[in-house]
């Protein structure tokens, strides 16, 4: 029974590929846990899973307090950002759309910028300790939600999806200009704090934060899963979708809500993570050779986790004491990837 459902869901080629992607995810997850400034041998790691304690107690702390929550954050961010990107690309019928086109990252950035830099710019202090991770999360969430509410109001007024896209981009530009002004008048110390936030950080989420993030990601995924069929209908454009019985206004709100919750929460906890949201859906289409969202949803989520795990593993710089900012890695690998994809075959043809 389950098998027949699976068979009609995706073909053999696609299920094989999905299996490979999931297998690679597990392998890369183990490698990710093992590598870093302190290397934990894979053998001990597998032993630890089987219940044998580590020979060195410090490994236990490194693994449980730092690497494991970080790898779970990678899992959530990889799924959330790439599925947001997929929804945006299908909804706006634009291959360059990504999770941040509605200005959510700029909104979160503005929240954080106000928190970290407004002190000198306006001469007042919002919090005694702006570097506190919870206050950063609060500010970023407030900013993202503010933009989300504004986009909601715009969506109420504007019925055309292209106009909505432009409004979103303009919101982004407007908030960026405020951030630039704040940065111009702020002290060097605060500017650095903001700049580091904007580079993205997957390692800031402890176990307690992780619960909230997981809850938000699950909440954001539910509307997206319910709308899978509507996204398939959108492949032929809005008019065809409506003619096939899709409630377009409902889909629009679903898209805004789902991507808003997903990217808003991830940006709040991890900062704006570049490239994953735009590149991964294309990669999933290329690898699975399909446009059907019932296949693309699991495929995109799997590939998203895989790519972000790989980027995070590289950013840990095995054997060195420091780690690179995650955005430097995602962009350094994402940009060549996109260029390679464009060179290999026409981007728009595959889309």
């Amino acid at each position: 029974m389950i098998f027949t459902i699976f068979k009609s869901w995706m073909n053999k080629f696609q299920s094989q590929r999905l299996l490979i992607v999931l297998l690679l995810c597990v392998i890369l997850w183990l490698v990710n846990l093992s590598l870093g400034s302190v290397q934990i041998p894979l053998k001990s790691l597998l032993g630890r899973i089987a219940g044998i304690p580590f020979p060195q107690p410090s490994w236990e702390i490194i693994l449980m307090e730092y690497r494991l929550p970080k790898s779970l954050t990678v899992l959530l961010a990889g799924i959330g950002l790439s599925l947001s990107g997929l929804q945006m690309q299908t909804f706006f019928r634009n291959p360059l759309a990504g999770p941040y086109v509605l200005g959510i990252s700029s909104g979160a950035g503005l929240g954080v910028a106000l928190l970290t830099m407004a002190g000198t710019a306006f001469g007042w202090q919002i919090l005694d300790n702006p570097g506190n991770s919870w206050s950063l999360v609060g500010a970023a969430s407030a900013g993202a939600m503010g933009v989300l509410v504004l986009m909601g109001l715009a969506a109420w007024k504007v019925k055309d999806s292209m106009t909505l896209l432009i409004v979103g981009l303009m919101f982004g530009s407007a908030t960026s200009s405020v951030i630039t002004l704040l940065a111009y008048f702020s002290a060097a110390e605060e500017l650095k704090l903001f700049t580091i936030w904007s580079m993205g950080n997957l390692g800031n989420t402890g176990w307690s934060d992780l619960g909230y993030l997981a809850g938000a990601v699950v909440l954001g995924l539910i509307p997206a899963l319910v709308a899978i069929k509507s996204y398939n209908a959108m492949l032929l454009g809005e008019t065809y979708a409506v003619s096939m019985g899709i409630n377009f206004q409902k889909l629009r709100w679903t898209m805004i809500l789902s991507t808003g919750i997903l990217t808003g929460s991830i940006t709040a906890f991890c900062g704006p993570i570049a490239f994953i949201g735009i590149a991964v859906p294309h990669l999933a289409r290329l690898l699975f050779r399909t446009q059907s969202h019932s296949v693309l949803f699991p495929a995109t989520a799997g590939v998203g986790v895989l790519i972000l795990l790989a980027c995070d593993t590289i950013s840990q710089l095995p054997g060195m004491a420091t780690s690179l900012p995650i955005n430097a890695v995602t962009t350094a690998f994402g940009a060549p990837l996109i260029i390679w994809m464009i060179m290999k075959r026409s981007f728009s043809e595959e889309f």
Binding site: L236, Y240, M244
Partner: protein, 345 residues
Amino acid sequence: MDNPENRQDEKEGFVRAKNLELGYRSGVETQGVASGVSFSLFRKELTCLMGPNGVGKSTLLKAIMHQHPPLKGEVWLGNAPASHLSEKERAKRVAVVLTEKIPTGLLTVRDLVALGRIPHTGWWGQLSPVDQAKINEVMALTSISHLAHKTVSALSDGQRQTALIARALAQDSPIMVLDEPTAHLDLSNRFEIMYLLRDLARKASKAILVVTHDLEVALETADKLWLMDARQPLLTGSPEDLMISGGIQRLLPGEKWRVDAASGKIIRNTTPLPCQIEGPEPMVSWVKNALRKNPELNLPEAIFLTETPFAIKATFSQHQQTFDSISEMIRFLQNQLKPENFFLK
């Protein structure tokens, strides 16, 4: 098949409307496009909607699809007005083929046709064996089964249009609405597509409405014509009746053009040629055709045509001339004209 509702459809039409007012609503302002539009669309019939650009053909289609509801009046789809149906119920009654270019990408023909099942599947879009059978059936009906695994971007224009028609068929709705399905197609494909639609109307008992500008194909294939025209009510009837009554002339407002009652071709209103032409029939009319296109020429007094071998003997006031082809004669006549050079005057 014999319930009272079906019998009512046969009398009144499956899609019907009385005194519709069509137009757009933007805020409080309304912009009327056409008013007093009444019609009945019957099952098992292919109906062509024709008329000049901008008279509101697309608006009428959108009113039937309920994407731009009429400003006044109701369109009835079977036993219920369109506005009383939910999106899904409407989708089960009306399927469309639009002019807009579809983004193709990696979509295979079968995937495209399968999209037509969307109103019938559950939230996940899972295709049941019934859906699969329907997809196979419509692909066989439109003879595109052999293209199933090709991507839509690899199809020719005619094949793509057929695939889009198959998608609309898969939607399993009694009404099909097509907006210029034969635009961009070559001559034979235009006929193929329209004959396919005519066949489908019969075999699958569909009410099919097609917007087209192609009079020749419409006369050949349509059961009914709806002629739409600014400031006049919709004129409906079989193409043959409209030809005989002269109602067809509405397609060509103004004095310049008319539809030839014998051939159904669109011709320019002209005065008879001041030249006597004799010879076997198809040749005479083509020579006339060539001469009409070049009204500035000084015509010979008489032209005599012979069949085998083809030759044209032209009698002028002073001499006679023989030509092997019409273009040779036209070239000769053009050279007879005095060069009119405005700079030398």
